[in-house]
Amino acid sequence: MTDVPITLSARGLDRSRVTGLLQRYGVYGAVAALLVFNAVFTDHFLTVGNLRTQLVQVSPIVIVALGMALVIGTEGVDLSVGSTMALASALLPLYLGYGLAPALLLALFAGVVVGLVNGSLVALVGLQPIVATLALFVGGRGLALVIADGQLKQIQNRDLLGLGTDSLLGIPLVVLIAGVLAIVIAFLVQRTTFGRQLVAVGGNRAAAALAGLPVKRVLIGVYVVCGVLAALAGVLATARLTASDPSALGNLMELSAITAVVVGGTPLTGGSVRVLGTVTGALLMQLLHATLVTHNLHDSTAQMAQAAIILVAVYVARERRSR
């Protein structure tokens, strides 16, 4: 369903060209195809209200996935993002009494600390990223539960709740923040020294080290950025939920984020970061789920469809590399 427009226009090209095109533009084509499908077959899908809901729901995933894309670009992975969200969420109520700003800063600071720990374990100790971040995947949520005393806390602070419900020029704040962050991260990757060094470290670490690049600093920085983005996503999710719920918030978020990155065409082998692809990847998974659910398919069916999309994305990426 997703490939039809591309394969038709590409008929006559050789196979590797087709897979190349698929890998580069497949995810955009798939989103377009889904939208067209819904325009024709789903009532009330392409309405401002519905699209707004979809975008608001996908925004936290997009924000986390942006950080994840950077980490994956260095041939790493960060499993602790969901726990980081919970940690940020648990810290919020503690300082909300002093106003939104101190509480927000503290929550983001927790993201910095998580990133520093993850980055140090990877860059200085030399642990495998999957093991290093597994520590805080488990420990982070535990700490969050200790801080929150294992309880769900209702949020009363109007400023914080506003983050989740207010709009600017008709666009929900959450969506706006995710959009701005996507642009910032794209700029970071494409135009800054840090971004280019990050990609080089992911592409060939030995070469980057011999070229005098600050490999350790880059790695730690990447995990810090990922941690801060996850913490911010935790704050926004808390605002949407109007409650701090460290036992449930951000559960399985690491998998959603990795999925968005992979479906968006960023290779797990590092050396490349596709920001727009990642955003679109998150959008694709969200729209697919929404489409299937509105057509009265069960949630579990939707999950299987998502699994199929992931397999297709990984398959296309593999085809490309083995050429």
């Binding site: 800054t192 020294t193 080089a200 980057a208 011999l210 690049l213 050396g271």
Partner: protein, 552 residues
């Protein structure tokens, strides 16, 4: 698959081979292969006669590798056909070519590093005992016999990665031969071997030749071709240029066919791209003293003067690369001091060395040099990023200017600066790396095997460039296994042996016989080590532990 079968197949006349000589055992008839954007082979014909050693030569990008990949089933031709004996064949996978008796030894050793030597040799066809399990004692015995035949004295139970590169190459060869091949394809088998190992390889090739096995031999080293090959096929830019007896072709003529240049031009420049000696200044720009690192480096000291090329001689494993890495801050040292322009470096890291003006072109281009997924532009500016940016934001305009200058100066052939480096030929990748270092305007350039595995044309260009750079006042350290290159390129040669300085050649003493004399000293006192190739330290303590693990 037995040798006798090869003879049978060979005795059947093949219609399309040229009239004289033995019939073809393996043949490619007007084969073409296109990749996106390039025609790698354009109706090239190639016939390998039974029992001959056939050289396949050409610059990088000539189509040698593609032709080999067609012959060995890695790629399939877009046009034309392959014939084995007198029947057309098509291989869908390398395995099918192997089953048909075509074995390949690749340029880079293609084995499983963590498995034992014996397991590597018998991978996929291990001898089984009556329970259907691998018969380890038999496998080890047979592996040992095979290796002894090649003059390699390594324990077949040791993991492959603990052996030197040369020994690993021998293991690959043992594997290829033991599958009862009737055609063996060798893609630059000597590029990582020491002279002694090359001799062993040639002896083995002679044996294969005696058994009637046909060999396709790809190499950039002309000496080797003239020593062992019967016929030669020259490719250039995907075209077939020449096939004939090698003996009837003099070197100049062969080189000129490969390059597509006039003979007179080649002769005027010599076969290497180096000019005459340089005028070096008195005061050294770089001084290194007492470099020591475990067993690898023992109190190595050297001085480099602006405008000179200092050669670093020695056999594989003598500490040449390690010396260069130590100077570049990329090797952890137990002791030693490095100073540039009289100022000692306080911290020895690659970044500190680069800031002080020391640049290292590493030996292993793929593993330590290029970032294959990034573009030519990004690879060139990689080390210079901080200098090309303001407040952490990289200026695209400044990048483009630098990249443009160096792509022109080094004549880097790429479809555009945005082409991925991984898609370029070896020679062009090397030029990209040189550009990466030159755009930092270094004072000292350390070149570790700058021309290894690159084509003749690019080789001459790189050599000429080294010459120019020294003339412009750069201090150059040159490491090369190519003795001709080392002698013609260097003003002075420091010879290393076992991680220590063994001698220095200056002035008129920079010549082959003197260098060999210093190198040859080694064979007397260190023969025992030599068979294990570049293996570090002594192997003895490891051996008792290994068998237990393998028998499990």
């Amino acid at each position: 698959m037995a040798p006798s079968e090869a003879v049978e197949a060979a005795s059947v006349p093949a219609g399309t081979a040229e009239p004289p000589g033995a019939p073809a055992v393996l043949e490619a008839v007007r084969v073409s292969k296109r990749f996106p954007g390039v025609v790698a082979l354009d109706e090239v014909s190639f016939a390998l006669r039974a029992g001959e050693i056939h050289a396949l030569v050409g610059e990088n990008g000539a189509g040698k590798s593609t032709l080999i990949k067609l012959l060995t089933g890695v790629h399939r031709p877009d046009g034309g056909e392959l014939r084995l004996g007198d029947a057309p064949v098509s291989f869908h996978r390398p395995y099918e070519a192997q089953q048909a008796g075509i074995s390949t030894i690749y340029q880079e050793v293609n084995l499983v590093p963590l498995m034992s030597v014996a397991r590597n040799i018998f991978l996929g066809r291990e001898p089984k005992n009556r329970f259907g399990l691998i018969d380890f004692p038999r496998m080890h015995r047979e592996a040992a016999e095979l290796l002894t035949g090649f003059g390699v004295r390594a324990d077949p139970r040791r993991p492959l990665h603990t052996l030197g590169v040369g020994t690993q190459q021998m293991v690959a060869l043992a594997r290829a031969v033991s599958v009862r091949a009737r055609v063996v394809v060798m893609d630059e088998p000597t590029s990582s071997l020491e002279p002694r190992e090359v001799e062993t390889l040639f002896r083995v090739i002679g044996e294969l030749h005696g058994r009637g096995i046909a060999i396709v031999y790809v190499s950039h080293r002309l000496d080797e071709l003239y020593r062992i090959c019967d016929r030669v096929t020259v490719l250039r830019d995907g075209w077939h240029v020449h096939t004939g007896e090698l003996r009837e072709l003099d070197r100049m003529r062969l080189v000129s066919m490969m390059l597509g240049r006039e003979i007179a031009e080649v002769r005027r420049h010599g076969t290497t791209g180096f000019g005459d000696g340089h005028q070096a200044e008195r005061r050294p720009v770089l001084t290194a003293t007492g470099l020591t690192s475990g067993q690898v480096l023992r109190d190595v000291g050297l001085e480099l003067h602006p405008g000179e090329v200092l050669g670093l001689g020695g056999l594989l494993g003598s500490g040449r690369s390690e010396t260069a890495k130590a100077v570049a801050g990329a090797l952890a040292l137990d002791g030693g001091e490095i100073s540039v322009g009289g100022r000692p470096l306080r911290r020895l890291t690659p970044a500190a060395a680069i800031r002080a003006g020391i640049s290292l072109l590493p030996e292993d281009r793929k593993a330590e040099g290029i970032v294959p997924g990034l573009s030519v532009r990004e690879n060139i500016v990689l080390a210079a990023l901080p200098r090309l940016s303001r407040a952490g934001i990289v200026s695209r305009g400044r990048q483009d200017r630098i990249v443009d200058v160096f792509m022109k100066r080094l004549r880097i052939k790429a479809s555009s600066p945005e082409q991925k480096v991984g898609e370029l030929s070896g020679g062009n990748q090397q030029k990209v790396l040189l550009a990466r270092w030159l755009c930092l305007e270094p004072k000292v350039l350390l070149l570790d095997e700058p021309t290894r595995g690159i084509d003749v044309g690019a080789k001459a260009e790189v050599q000429a460039l080294i010459d120019d750079l020294a003339q412009e006042g750069l201090a150059v350290l040159l490491i090369s296994s190519d003795i001709e290159e080392l002698i013609e390129g260097s003003d002075r040669i420091l010879v290393l042996r076992g991680g220590a300085v063994a001698g220095e050649l200056t002035g008129d003493r920079v010549e082959e016989s003197e260098l060999l004399a210093v190198l040859a000293d080694e064979t007397a006192d260190e023969t025992a080590d030599a068979t294990v190739g570049a293996t570090k330290g002594s192997a003895a303590p490891e051996e008792p532990a290994a068998p237990k693990e393998d028998r499990r």
